[in-house]
Symmetry: C2
Subunit: 225 residues, 2 copies
């Protein structure tokens, strides 16, 4: 599993949710087709008359998510860049997605503008497995900045992220652990391993917070908020 695999999954889901922030600072979300994925880049398009287009022009930050039939979720966050050479990209998109001709026949396709997300953060979350499985990736030019030298292949498991990346989320057990085992007993996914200190297997963690609330020594900390 790597960043390209996650992007390919989004392309296979095809109809995924794209969230933006509107001019009032509120969330907006709609289903948009992932039109192309190649070389760790994701392409989509939208009409110049749409609110989605105006929201992207005002604030390019976008969050994407989709779920497949195996209950595997992919989440992406990044910035959407409008592409130059509009006609060239729109023609390419229509070639790869012929169903678009039914919605925008003939020359009407050129009301669409192509966008690309070439860097950002990805999360893979497998709800079809027990325990659940999660993994984070960075892709594109964010890779160097976010993952540092360990970012090869854009792969970076949740566990590796202990080395201190701002983008990393979840809970960690500190040296203040008294070894009582309460966290291990309450964890709904049984993803805590005995040790000194006890250890949360980050790749199986729901981030539900039950260990954090249950620890009698306040030895569990939250990261990334």
């Amino acid at each position: 599993m790597n960043a390209q695999d996650c992007l390919t999954m989004l392309r296979e889901m095809k109809d995924v949710a794209f969230a933006t922030v509107d001019e009032k600072g509120n969330p907006q979300v709609r289903i948009i087709d992932v039109m192309l994925v190649e070389k760790e880049k994701l392409y989509f398009c939208t009409g110049r008359g749409k609110e989605f287009y105006n929201q992207l022009r005002r604030k390019p930050e976008v969050a994407i998510t989709g779920l497949n039939k195996e209950f595997q979720m992919v989440r992406l966050s990044g910035k959407a860049k409008k592409l130059p050479e509009q006609k060239c990209w729109i023609d390419r998109i229509f070639e790869e997605n012929p169903v678009m001709n039914g919605v925008y026949p003939g020359e009407s396709r050129y009301i669409l503008e192509p966008f690309c997300i070439d860097s950002g953060n990805l999360e893979f979350f497998d709800l079809g497995k027990s325990p659940i499985y999660r993994e984070n990736f960075v892709f594109g030019k964010e890779k160097g900045a976010a993952a540092g030298e360990e970012g090869e292949n854009g792969k970076e498991t949740a566990k590796e992220s202990e080395s201190g990346n701002d983008e990393k989320k979840g809970f960690w057990i500190t040296e203040a652990c008294i070894g009582c085992g309460k966290c291990m007993r309450v964890c709904p996914q049984q993803c805590i391993t005995k040790g000194t200190p006890y250890l949360i297997r980050q790749e199986n963690c729901l981030h539900c917070g039950l260990c954090f609330e249950s620890c009698p020594a306040q030895a569990i900390v939250r990261r990334g908020e």
Copy 2:
């Protein structure tokens, strides 16, 4: 079709995208289960340790979308309210959604908090039809405020919205129309009818903006931005 039908569709899709705005003002989105829908209210839950929970507590505005196999999309925007009587609601949710016991067995379910959306705006968008079909609804207490006296049943077609509701989006042809017919010829969904002035059938409009850009008399205006 009415607001309750849209909410029921979201419940049937079950796994839908919930978008929020994070502490940096950026969009975040993830797949969440719609746990219950009744009496024009939508219920879901999330763990107190999750970023989603913290985002909702900071800023309750949420946008939801899902797509079914018939390519019918529903979009909702509203505010998520945390419910009192947590255990009572969580028990009810687990009763209606027994699969949750596999993820949060035993007492661990009470790390979850129940939320309700009891008012807001809904959009139904049918991409499985040609031309596409769209309709807007308000539900809950927003109904009175947003739709005024015409808001009975929470039903309010895009066409009715010409009476001037801030929440209404799209394009309208004004009296400045010179009757040249260019908008009608370029429309990808052929949703413009000849007349004085020409008329956009709002329920079939993609909001792509091609008529707006093509009108030689600048007779077409955008609403709701």
